[in-house]
Symmetry: C2
Subunit: 471 residues, 2 copies
Amino acid sequence: MPKASCAVRGTFFDFVDDPWHHAGNEQAAARFLADGLLVVKDGVIADFGPFADVSPRHPGLDITHLPDRIILPGFIDGHIHFPQVRVLGAYGNQLLDWLQTWIFGEELKYRDRDYARKAAGLFFDALLAGGTTTCLAFTTSSPVSTEEFFEEATRREMRVIAGLTGIDRFAPADFCITPDDFYKESKRLIEKYHRRGRNLYAITPRFAVGCTGEMMDSCRRLKEEHADCWVNTHISENPSEVRTAKDHFPDCSDYTEVHEKHGLLGPKFTAGHGIWLSNGEMRRFSKAGAAIAFCPLSNLFLGSGLFRLGRAKDPEYPVRVAVGSDVGGGNAFSLVRVLEEAYKVGMCNNTMLDGSIDPRNQDLGEADRNKLSPYRAFYLATLGGAQALYLDDMLGNFEPGKEADFVALDWKAGQLAMAWHQTLAVEEGGPETIEQAAQLLFGIMAAGDDRNVDETWVAGARAYKKGHDKA
Amino acid sequence: MPKASCAVRGTFFDFVDDPWHHAGNEQAAARFLADGLLVVKDGVIADFGPFADVSPRHPGLDITHLPDRIILPGFIDGHIHFPQVRVLGAYGNQLLDWLQTWIFGEELKYRDRDYARKAAGLFFDALLAGGTTTCLAFTTSSPVSTEEFFEEATRREMRVIAGLTGIDRFAPADFCITPDDFYKESKRLIEKYHRRGRNLYAITPRFAVGCTGEMMDSCRRLKEEHADCWVNTHISENPSEVRTAKDHFPDCSDYTEVHEKHGLLGPKFTAGHGIWLSNGEMRRFSKAGAAIAFCPLSNLFLGSGLFRLGRAKDPEYPVRVAVGSDVGGGNAFSLVRVLEEAYKVGMCNNTMLDGSIDPRNQDLGEADRNKLSPYRAFYLATLGGAQALYLDDMLGNFEPGKEADFVALDWKAGQLAMAWHQTLAVEEGGPETIEQAAQLLFGIMAAGDDRNVDETWVAGARAYKKGHDKA
């Protein structure tokens, strides 16, 4: 398929480093161009910089101007369930009951190719409407859903990671897949999709509570035979789940060891949630180069708990962290909403950590790291997510050579009070300094939602424009 | 001013009792009319019931049909700050720092009449866009802001409660008001506004941390001299605030006693938050007939903590509970968003109370009461709020004789995934049973926002229509 070329002029904001490495001077990790130009050839960034510098190098360009917007790299959703698009925000109990009541029944429908295909269209529409251009997704235990996911992503030329999702216990019999079938089907799907177009494959044991030792062995074998593949799973989302995992794997001292023992914990391994990981488990994640997908919308909606972001960002043992919507445990596709809730989780954590409740719990360093500034937040949704998922050689910022996925944010859109609120940062016109841009971005994450996503571009072509979507 | 008359046909949903009194059979507290008719004369409900019954009683009516909507009583916001409309969702620290950094400076601007008048217009626009028709509001320590608030409410014929907001310590000198000036200005404003049109007056000590004993004495005197007035304040929002209140009132054994000692705790007394109230304090609230405004958006945004809803709804000692946006600590005007966060707070509380973490904390009764079904949620936003604020003789449901404020909800609007999600409840057309309607309402609170408010009516006249607002 021929890839798109374009040149886009506007106000750009991206990251060149982790803002947590620059506490007190976070803007050093970011890059702001009040008037920039992004030149894309065949879906890849060919040039980027101030308009006045870049423009003369490319005479005769057909330039698309996006005024009154802040253009960021496309958002990366590090944890989402494709077959839960319809059941997002379902009324229920905590995790394990919620799965049984709402989720497994809905996911069973994805054995039907027509249903899965229709859902895939809606799923990717919803992602793009939220500014998300890349995701790490669960499918179901039926290969049909995995196929339809990759087929739709291929049609849209989106960079995605997904895989057949293995579960062989703790689910209805017709929802389970045997470890042997899982191995065979996964191999077939890896051959068919991995590194075809922009598709990447993740070996996907759903979660240890739903996997026997044999299923985990199948995953180990797949990873040994396809070392280039990603691994995607869940870990330590809910206290009852943690206890059940221990019951299921009595020879493992903790939940993390289940993955270590089966050769999975390492680079390109991502586990959703990690709320109840011990400090020691977090250190092992850090040393292994494994990542956690922090899913605050879901964690609050299911009452799972508060992820210790400031602990994960411990400078001695930093864990790679992405953010995820976790639709349908998460009740919105919008990563703007995810960042809002991530901010809240940090603030709630800090009521403990600032010593307000119990002075013995005071840890001002961790409390500071919990605080989600706009720099930290939008880093997590872009370059940080790319680094967590080992995609930063391909995307995550506007470096030439990277893939040209980006989102144009309208800082005034959303609830009625938004426009006046944002005049606190910029009275008229657009941001002229990085501080102003960061304040507008905080306004978006604090008081905004998907309405702030005005357009979304994939591989150099406009894939979504607000008001012109199908819904 | 002549009041409006109208007749509205559509699908109606309201409450006749508290759903917590009907655990396991909550629909007994609600009323659902798939095809109903509401007849309004001079701003007051004259008749209400099934269309087939009511319509023949009123020949020749000019009927407005609102198809594909669920019509509820107007939402009641039990805790909101008028002068914080512009600073909603400000980046910051916990409560006390946040007040000093962002809030007092903004509120000072409301001494300027032009600024306050412009803000009042935006404030009420934003309320109506969220479906809110009644609020209990803080103003500032400047009478100008209180006047402009009531003048704008009068122009819109909205039922509101507010009052000059007293603070004489813990704020910049020019923001404070002396207890004597507060007393005199409050009296003047009570004479001018209380029970004029739909305005009601609340004697408003901002919070005990910001009030000397003399200021609290002024409040006691005002309440003694104007027993018909409401009282509005804050309590136990944040652990540091609780400690400071104890330091400021060393002769009181707890925060609640500050209000008891000054003759304020009783009917028509409402305090925002109450997160850190002890069980004993909650019982004293219950016995006194005092109310708490639960503000989950704000409580999460400022990291204040998790309100123990299930404890407040203890059947032996039930506390009156309203919900509040607490804009600007709350980051949205939409009560739909407030209910979403209230659900999350209940779910997070229950990770403790179901014994998942510590079996000694298990309290399944309280855990059940924490769980915010759509019945409980929309009760809190309508009749429950009216009962908490002692307004249920005037409004809160569709009983004839009550004031005709209502909101028409579009259950398919909002994020792109919403429409398909809602087909889980109703495949096509509108709800035919109360269970279907409740499921659609849960869909709105779980995955929706202000976009689900299609129109808002005040005193029998349309005051807001989505897509035709000024913003």
